[in-house]
């Protein structure tokens, strides 16, 4: 990703309310197996999916990607993204081979300036429902897009 001029504060603020297309996502058994192995944990019983899937499945299921989320905030480079927080609310068990409906949007976006640095703080929120319409999880991703404005 090449360096480029930073967006204006107003351009960042206009991101609030941006909605992703939405869609569906099914955690395949192989995918859950590999993810769980990456965590160093043991496979979970009864077809349960490891909650670590709550990072990527909402993003992909909502019809976006990590790359597009970087691009929406006009990240200056892959190195310019920092994580503020991940907030995962889990209302029901997450399972393999279940087709979840997923929606996603940008809920907060603004420029922050401190004596040390300037960054744009962008918050994404995703909601997952199961085929019965039950709300299974809400995930909130807050990233910092560091700016070099000098």
């Amino acid at each position: 990703m090449a360096s480029k001029s930073p967006p204006t504060r107003e351009a960042i603020q206009r991101l609030v309310g941006h909605e992703f297309p939405g869609g569906e996502y099914t955690i395949a058994h192989w995918e859950n197996f590999l993810l769980t192995e990456c965590t160093g944990g043991e496979p979970l019983p009864d077809g349960l999916a490891h909650p670590v899937a709550l990072f990527h499945m909402p993003i992909l299921g909502a019809g976006t990607s990590i790359g597009e989320m970087f691009a929406l905030g006009e990240a200056e480079s892959d190195f310019s993204i920092g994580i503020e927080s991940y907030d995962w609310e889990i209302f029901g068990p997450l399972k393999e081979e279940v087709r979840y409906k997923i929606s996603g949007k940008i809920t907060e976006a603004d420029r922050k300036e401190t004596p040390e640095r300037t960054f744009d703080r962008i918050q994404f929120q995703f909601d997952l429902t199961d085929p019965d319409g039950s709300h299974v999880a809400r995930t909130t991703i807050t990233w910092h897009y560091r700016r070099n404005l000098s």
Binding site: C38, T39, P51, F55, G67, D78, W88, E89, I90
Partner: protein, 136 residues
């Protein structure tokens, strides 16, 4: 399950954060960021020729700790902040303590402070979790 404020959650240890696991994770997540798989690029950032662990992987160590403590469907909420990066080769230990025990609906819940311990540094991850306590 008897739980009281101040109880320590049994710790969960990741002896050796693995670059190979970061690469697998990057592929599954479709995460294009080279900091997770290109050590030469990471060296330019001043971290040496190592790769940077994905945030969700660090978070997963906290999940594994909570699962072993209260079961695989017990987590109701987990909020993590990421003050420092974790690098391949690091040894990190998930730890936590109970800050409140309360009833909500039919469930008994424990609110916890959780963090990742790494020798010689401030916690690279810290946050809070709420788990449903097993009955009995």
């Amino acid at each position: 399950m008897k739980v009281s404020v101040g109880d320590q959650i049994p710790q969960w240890v990741m002896e050796h954060v693995s670059a190979a696991r970061m690469r697998t994770m990057a592929a599954v997540l479709r995460d294009p960021n080279p900091v997770h798989w290109d050590p030469k690029l990471v060296a330019q950032l001043g971290f040496g020729e190592r790769t940077i662990n994905q945030g969700p992987l660090g978070l997963s160590y906290m999940i594994n700790m909570l699962h072993e403590w209260t079961g695989p469907t017990s987590i109701r909420r987990i909020v993590m902040r990421f003050p420092q990066v974790i690098l391949d080769g690091d040894k990190v230990i998930a730890r936590g303590e109970v800050t409140a025990v309360r009833e909500e609906g039919d469930e008994r819940l424990a609110d916890c402070r959780i963090w990742l311990h790494r020798e010689g540094t401030e916690p690279p991850l810290e946050g809070t979790a709420t788990v449903a306590l097993p009955s009995g």
